[in-house]
Amino acid sequence: MTKDQLIMGIETSCDETAIAIVKNGREILANVVASQIESHKRFGGVVPEIASRHHVEQITLVLEEALAQANVDVKDLDAIAVTEGPGLVGALLIGVNAAKALAFANGIPLIGVHHIAGHIYANRLVTEMNFPLLSLVVSGGHTELVYMKEHGHFEVIGETRDDAAGEAYDKVARTLHLPYPGGPHIDRLAHEGKATIDLPRAWLEDGSYDFSFSGLKSAVINVVHNAQQRGEEIVPEELAASFQESVIDVLVTKTQRAVKEYGVKQVLLAGGVAANKGLREKLSTDFADSDVEIVIPPLSLCTDNAAMIAAAGSILYEKGQRADLTLNGNPGLEITIHNESRK
């Protein structure tokens, strides 16, 4: 019998202080998330300095709760995996320095994890990965198509050239005077209305898997502005439905095309916008008759959490990737760092 592998994940890249413990890369023993959303709501968005301050307030409380929930001692951990980037630099630094202090004080290996690698590996907490695969990563800061030929190897085949899908959601929500964060409100309204307004879809040049949402965002603002000038009412449900349809159409069509070209066996949905009901439904129905397996994590694993960082850390640990005590928060970290062997 081989010994169980226990990895702690630490995630503080934005406005969630999260610590989790995952067994053998797939089983969640604890997944604690202290959200700051109530605090940032006052400002209509995440304020970096305030996020950093909250992380310091929460870090040891969340640590203690995670270990208690998992009924694990720090000494039993095989490694500590921490989000190294991308994210808000001041926020990242809290998780990174807590992880380094823990690793040093207890003589435990340390692993730096790319935030998006974490989002993708949230799927492994649901089902085993089947390569080659494609992951559609959609969040407040990211819209990417990532191809994986094997564990721990990431190839970005398409990414946003301007706004992330999540940003576009937040901006459209603001135009409709919906509260922050706007994504879930748009999703809800979209289900109550019909897509009656013609909005553009940015396909970009032939064969490109890149995305662009700034044109769509501007089109929505124009529609609202023009209606105001003509003294007409905009039905928010219709606008939300039309906007959402445009976003999802582009996301799903490009995913389908990549699935064919790369001959993948699995499509993994990842990132906060993966919580979007419209996107989940469209992906599920469009791939219903194909051999490709669609994996959609539960909502709690789509939004930022540390179980996903531990899950990615588990694979990186097996691949021998280690960080030393000079590990730093890196807001511009590239996911391909995991493709080289870092020891």
């Binding site: 870090i59 630094l93 320095n97 202090a101 040093f104 004080a105 005590l325 000079t326 730093n328």
Partner: protein
Amino acid sequence: MKVLSIDTSNYVLGIGLLDGETVLGEYISNIKKNHSVRVMPAIQTLMEECNIKPGDLSKIVVAEGPGSYTGVRIGVTVAKTMAWTLKIPLSGVSSLEVAAASSGRYFDGYVSPFFDARRGQIYTGLYKFENQKLQIVKDDQLVMSADWVKTLNEMDSRILFTSNDLKLHEDVIKEELGDKAVLAAVTEQNPRPAELALLGRDKEAVDLHTFVPNYIRLAEAEANWLKAQETKK
């Protein structure tokens, strides 16, 4: 009793190790280089040199600010996490108090340590050694250096100014206070981590979970929000 002290609140990176009444070692650098990258390696190196293992430590002391928001958070995060996992007490000491102790121990008069806070402002406080014990005379605060020296001109004895930013405010100090002001020598301007360890060793331990840096200032967004709430009333 082995005490580890950590100061990352300003440009100086300071790590100290105190064993009973012996200063085992200190690491000090005064360079504009990333504390996040360097603080743990500095702790590791000093502890290894002094043959101290994490489990040997009986207390951690951290400089709690004021200073750079990001800088002080790095030290406080490391200190909190280490104290928590090693199950040992933690004390926080004002970064200004450490600076005062580092150059004013034998000075007969007041000590005004300060850190430049840009646009003519300084973080400062007023301290005095009485019977070898450091007393606080005026609380740590954020103030225009020009206003601060006016306040100090009302004091009855000489004042020692100590700071790595002395050059920036030297003219303001000299103009108002003349010979009443004494400027610390360059070799005494770095806050000493051994002084930090000593000050913190005798201080009551903080509640570890709720301990946060002393920023002095609210975050800008927070201050603006509070102001907006006030005008709504």
